[in-house]
Amino acid sequence: MTKVTVTLANRQDQTFEVDPRKTLLASLSEQGVDLPYGCKYGGCITCAARLMSGSVNQSAQVALNNRQISDGYIILCVARPLSDCCLEIGVDSHGKLYRNPFLDPLADHELKADIAAPTKENT
């Protein structure tokens, strides 16, 4: 199968050719990129990265709420690229990932997918 190109915007735009059948964590780690990770099944956000362009399939992730998804976060341990992608990786990409839950509450449509209210566009 054709490989796709992953560019790491916050690593001097380094590029990597990866197999789209593999997770981005596996592909990038194999090629020497030092990435954080935790659970390796999509349930914790230790490996979160930010998708700047391109698209991925991360249907197995259960960690992100809809706010984080709309901010571009993806879970590298389960995400597989569907096209060429540009990413910001590591904790230095986590600026919008964490928020004080009392100071900055989520709207109903921003919760995790299993409990989020449908957005107006969807209703």
């Binding site: 935790g38 659970c39 956000i45 904790v91 964490y98 839950p101 009392f102």
Partner: protein, 451 residues
């Protein structure tokens, strides 16, 4: 009866209180979620005031891989097998919440330099038991049970992993989880044939961080479960409701004849007390209610978030930490129905009461605590859980955590932060790390259970 013995621990809580002072501390330190690509590690800290390296980390044992998120840990043996001369308190079982790996660490061969004895891989545990996210470790005579907060996909309620004394996986400990929705901490009191377990949330809910709205969607716990310990199945559930949102640390009295126990409800910032009444029925009541505190930048008052509680070995004092407020409280619970506040100290927290202690900027608030067997020294660390730290105390990424010691007056009540003890994890060799649970080689106030 003549003092029989032989095995680990002590014949009774009273005997434990006479044990020699702890000279070493074992404390978890983590890099998971910090941006530093190094393994989490077990620190050995010198707690001997006569030693030239007092109040310093004297050795560090790195785990084999990154991303475990070491959290809680427990001994392979405690006073529950005091009569068994073949047992020894030698190994710490140190789980990774995120990885599900269990690290078995030999702390006895060279107590100042623990070594890794064995790793039980998370993948093996998931494959054989369909469990993940290990939390509380208790030994059980010569065997070990560990609360596992999720199934292999991180869904609640998980169950209990059962290991033999050689650290082989036996399988699931429980015969049934009944209607239990979530797992977290547990403690058992065999003379009453009871185990009590509490509720955090599914790993997939709490591991990514805390979304307050998920409490309302019943993604976090608010129940307490009383088990038939011999049958290994839940027998009765107490619905704590709004008084018991996110019940975490469970502590029975150390006195093995007592039926009294306590749990800290983190989000409600309450202490719940339970006991068996004269008719043999389990009862519960709220005995401490920490008021939310106003903050100029917050739209609502800040809850205390009681992240831990602990009982002194003589069952006289209950200690609690308000991780968001920044205080540790000491209550005299001689009458467990009527606690009396006898001491309070401040370190860190969001209320700004003690931003700096002993020359170190305290980032985070008082979180895990461990008390000496004689009840006089309380060791305190400041990190809760990497993702939750990042939400409430984002500066911890650059400042790291710290450990302080609080001197406790066991005669009259009262607490004071010791001015000569501080371990600044912001100055660790590989960069700022975060410190969590502590245990002592000779046993401590959250390890030992008498059967």
């Amino acid at each position: 009866m003549a003092k029989a013995c032989c095995g680990p621990g002590y014949a009774s809580p009273a005997e434990a209180m006479q044990a020699p002072r702890e000279k070493l501390l074992y404390t978890i330190a983590i890099y998971t979620g910090t941006g530093i690509q190094k393994p989490d590690y077990l620190c050995t800290i010198d707690a001997d005031p006569e030693s030239p390296t007092y109040s310093q980390v004297i050795s560090r044992l790195e785990m084999p891989g990154i991303g475990d998120e070491l959290h809680h840990m427990g001994w392979n043996a405690c006073s529950s097998c005091h009569d068994d001369e073949n047992m020894e308190r030698k190994y710490l079982i140190v789980p990774g919440v995120r990885s599900t790996n269990l690290h078995i660490i030999d702390c006895a061969t060279d107590p100042r330099n623990p070594t890794l004895f064995k790793v039980i891989e998370g993948s093996e545990i998931k494959a054989r038991t369909n469990l993940s996210a290990p939390h509380t470790v208790h030994c059980l005579g010569s065997e070990i049970i560990i609360s596992m907060l999720g199934d292999a996909q991180g869904n609640a309620p998980g169950g209990y992993l059962h290991l033999d004394k050689e650290f082989n996986i036996i399988g699931r400990w429980e015969n049934s989880m009944g209607e239990i929705k979530f797992g977290y901490d547990f403690w058992y009191q065999p003379r009453h044939n009871v185990m009590v377990s509490s509720e955090w949330a599914a790993p997939n809910t709490f591991m990514p961080g805390f979304d307050l709205e998920e409490v309302g969607h019943l993604k976090y716990g608010r129940e307490l479960h009383f088990w038939d310990f011999e049958k290994k199945e839940p027998r009765q559930t107490m619905y704590l409701g709004e008084d018991g949102l996110i019940p975490l640390e469970v502590r029975f009295h150390h006195n093995p004849d007592s039926s009294h126990g306590f749990v800290g409800a983190a989000l409600s910032a309450n202490i719940i007390h339970w006991w068996k009444d004269t008719a043999g029925e389990w009862q519960w009541e709220k005995i401490v209610d920490v008021d939310n505190e106003p903050h100029p930048d917050w739209p609502i008052p800040i809850p205390g978030v009681i992240s831990v509680i602990l009982l002194s070995m003589d069952d006289r004092f209950l200690y609690l930490c308000n991780w968001l407020h920044g205080d540790i409280r000491q209550y005299d619970i001689s009458d467990p129905h009527k606690p009396v506040l006898t001491g309070q100290v401040w370190m860190g927290g969001l209320l700004g009461k003690a931003p700096e202690v002993n020359g170190v900027k305290v980032t985070g608030g008082p979180q895990m605590i461990q008390l000496s067997l004689d009840g006089k020294r309380l060791f305190v660390t400041t990190s809760l859980f990497s993702t939750w730290d990042n939400q409430f105390y984002p500066e911890i990424r650059t400042n790291g955590g710290c450990m302080l010691m609080v001197n406790c007056d066991t005669e009259n009540g009262g607490m004071e932060i010791d001015p000569d003890f501080v371990v600044d994890f912001g100055k660790e060799p590989n960069g700022p790390s975060r410190c969590h649970e502590t245990r002592y080689p000779g046993g401590d106030c959250t390890s030992d259970i008498w059967i």
